[in-house]
């Protein structure tokens, strides 16, 4: 056994004492904290608060339930919520404040794709774990490589490809299509994905109108008149919130649904509000593998309990942002649990947490999903046809198809807009069998 020299003892002691100041804070943290602080950015004001507030509500409910179970590995969780409505510069300032003044351990940002694109580089700079919980742009992990960010949901590519496959499966004879999308990044990008994929799968389909009413429009009368005159086989719209509600109501009042088949990839979030004004037979998407009457999870205690508690507390059925928030929180809980186990029971560093999030498989309210090695979440896409039933005062989904991610999501290392050009009628033929609605 080597003798301990005075020099070695001095060096060891100095190193031990100096480590906390020399090593980055993110590399430490083996000491169990008194609490885990989450920074959550969401829309608390403006038109997008229709998603942001349900997301915040879900966080309130789930964090309370999590803490009632003892928190994450015995550590209580608390959330600091910020509004992303004032814009990207404000949001970045708020994120920096949360990281540096409030010492948040993890950020959950954001709803807007613009916000996510801005927060990812900031998370790199701050070495702050960041979970993108609701934004949809596929560009984030296609155009950048982010050590400190992951996304716990799918992205715009499967959200648009899945309803297109569904449409071509049930109506392969479609000849003409018109689009009515909001005039901003999501409206334009989602149409670009749809158009490229449609031209690849069935090149003969004619686009008879490309209408992009301004973001926040309150009146679609002129667009509806135009569509009535053009009589397209299909009307595609990725609008959301109040604008989608208005478009649906105005279209129904003017009998446009009788002339065209509507494809509404975000309409799950509007069903309760528009009620049975939305007729039967409309193709409805849910932005992922979730719905309060999810075909394979609706009878599970986990989903039933959440829906009951959510309704009791907020008076509404949960919509997709609530499920996206749940996915982010369940992923975080699972990642801490796995990282702690891998760390021999010691509290993980931020790096260890991020390493664990990549490749993580976790259960959420309606199923199980995975985060890819590039940070992108993989989940099936639930698409169905609206149907009126006596049990609910609004349409439910019937003939539901759960599109697996390998069918509708571009592989890691490829660009979604290029990948959709490789789709064909063979892809349509791989559409899984529909699941009927059951009361």
């Amino acid at each position: 056994m080597a003798a301990l020299t005075r020099r070695a003892a001095l060096a060891t002691t100095t190193s031990a004492l100096a480590a906390p100041w020399i090593l980055p804070r993110s590399a430490l943290g083996q000491q169990k904290p008194a609490r885990i602080r989450l920074g959550i950015s969401t829309f608390l004001s403006g038109p997008a608060s229709v998603f942001g507030v349900p997301g915040r509500n879900a966080a309130d409910l789930l964090i309370a339930q999590l803490n009632a179970r003892g928190g994450i590995a015995g550590v209580p969780v608390e959330a600091l919520v910020i509004d992303e409505a004032p814009g990207v510069n404000f949001l970045l300032g708020e994120c920096r404040r949360l990281a540096q003044n409030e010492n948040v351990d993890v950020m959950l940002a954001s709803i807007s794709s613009g916000s996510c694109l801005a927060v990812a580089p900031l998370a790199e700079e701050l070495k702050l774990p960041n979970i993108m919980w609701d934004c949809g742009t596929q560009r984030i992990f296609e155009e950048g490589s982010w050590r400190w960010s992951v996304r716990t949901q799918a992205n715009a590519v499967p959200e648009i490809v899945a309803p297109l496959l569904y449409l071509l499966k049930i109506r392969p004879e479609v000849q003409t299509v018109a689009v009515v999308n909001q005039d901003y990044a999501w409206g334009r990008d989602s149409w670009a994905i749809w158009k490229s994929a449609m031209e690849a799968i069935k090149p003969g389909i004619k686009v008879v109108a490309e209408l992009f009413p301004k973001f926040g429009a309150t009146d679609f009368s002129t667009e509806i008149t135009r569509l009535q005159a053009l009589r397209p086989d299909v009307v595609f719209s990725t609008s959301w919130g109040g604008e989608l509600d208005t478009f649906v109501r105005q279209a129904a009042e003017r009998r446009l649904f009788e002339r065209s088949l509507f494809v509404l990839p975000l309409a799950e979030s509007s069903l309760e509000r528009v009620g049975k004004t939305l007729p039967e037979g409309v193709i409805v998407g849910a932005r992922g593998d979730h719905w309060f009457l999810h075909p394979t999870a609706k009878d599970t205690e986990r989903l039933k309990g959440f829906v009951t508690e959510y309704r009791k507390r907020f008076g509404l059925y949960p919509i997709y942002p609530t499920f996206h928030m749940a996915q982010a929180l369940f992923a975080l809980e699972a990642a801490y649990g796995k990282a702690i186990a891998a760390n021999g029971g010691a509290w993980p560093s931020r790096e260890q947490l991020m390493d664990t999030l990549r490749g993580l498989e976790f259960d959420h309210l309606t199923g199980r999903m995975k985060i890819r090695e590039d940070g992108q979440g993989l989940e099936p896409m639930l698409i169905g046809l609206s149907k009126h039933v006596p049990e609910y005062p609004f349409p439910v989904l019937d003939r539901m198809v759960l599109f697996p991610p390998e069918l509708v999501m571009n592989p890691m290392g490829t660009k979604g807009l290029e990948w959709v050009k490789t789709l064909s009628m063979e892809t349509v033929a791989k559409t899984p069998a529909p699941i009927p609605y059951k009361a």
């Binding site: 942001g52 009146d219 005159a229 109501r249 509000r273």
Partner: protein
């Protein structure tokens, strides 16, 4: 082509009617009080939200039109005097910048009040639209509400307002104050009262615009912003304080927008502002505005 032009005109008329109802109140208030009221959009929104609530409470569709009128009157009668006496009366003599800031602050406060009272979920009450049914023109279905009622109410509002200002004593005193506040005061006109009445009428018109729009659209946070921006475009293009000008300009913008949707959809969003820029380049005081001489 003829049918398309007819359809575009009908759409333009319905849109112009909504726009006019909001812009006319804004221009009236500016004409008399010389204040550009940013909170006008909030009065539109509150009128709309209250209308939605009252239509829901009315239950019977037959009462829904009455509920719209009641919502507009209640908003104007309560909010108008409250804002004018409580806030604006204190800043008439102040700088325009300060007046803008105060009304903007009020706008922000009222936005939050709407969220507190009505929440953030979109609200929709279309009983009045369903009550009036549909009209078919050339194989295209319109709602009678948008095709007949909205333009009808806008036309009545224009005629009534013009008659009121030109044919009644109170209206003439308002016009007198508009032309020369000092001279009007000197001959004994109670300018304070004129301000109060004018602002209340303006608030009522904004609320009526909101109440009439409520059954056709989803009410969401920020709905007031959308309308106030377009109304400013109408008022600036027409010339500040021009009532008939606001009607003509709303019609121009409405028609230009619907023609854009038919023939150049990519221009739909910018067409009102292109029109405004084109007019202001040629006539800086607006289409119907007069250049004002100022003593320096």
């Amino acid at each position: 082509m003829g049918l398309l032009l007819l359809l575009a005109t009908l759409d333009g008329l319905a849109y112009a009617a909504q726009l006019f109802m909001v812009a006319v109140g804004l221009t009236l208030v500016f004409g008399v009080l010389k204040i550009l009221n940013v909170a006008h959009g909030s009065l539109f929104a509150i009128g709309a939200y209250l209308a939605s609530t009252l239509v829901g409470l009315a239950g019977a569709p037959e009462l829904s039109l009455l509920a719209l009128a009641l919502a507009a009157m209640a908003t104007g009668a309560v909010m108008g005097p409250l804002i004018e006496r409580g806030l604006l009366a204190r800043i008439y003599e102040k700088e325009h910048v300060l007046q803008l800031l105060v009304t903007f602050a009020l706008f922000m406060i009222l936005e939050d009040v709407q969220k507190l009272v009505w929440g953030v979920q979109p609200l929709f009450e279309d009983a009045p639209v369903r009550l009036l049914g549909q009209v078919e023109v050339g194989g295209i279905f319109y709602t009678a509400y948008q095709l007949l009622l909205l333009p009808g109410v806008a036309a009545v509002a224009l005629v009534a307002l013009t008659w009121f200002l030109r044919r009644t004593l109170l209206g003439r005193t308002i016009v007198a104050v508009t032309h020369d506040r000092e001279a009007a005061t000197a001959i004994g006109i109670d300018v304070r009262r004129v301000h109060l009445v004018t602002f209340t009428i303006g608030a009522g018109l904004a609320a009526l615009g909101g109440a009439l729009a409520a059954p056709t659209t989803s009410l969401v946070p920020g709905i007031g912003v959308q309308m106030i921006v377009l109304s400013f475009a109408v008022v600036a293009t027409a010339g500040l304080g021009q009532i008939e000008g606001a009607a003509v300009t709303a019609l121009l913008i409405g028609l230009a927008r619907s023609l854009a949707v038919y023939f150049a959809p990519e221009l739909e969003v910018v067409i009102p502002y292109l029109l405004m820029v084109a007019v202001l380049l040629v006539r800086p005081a607006g289409l119907f505005g007069r250049t004002v001489l100022q003593r320096v």
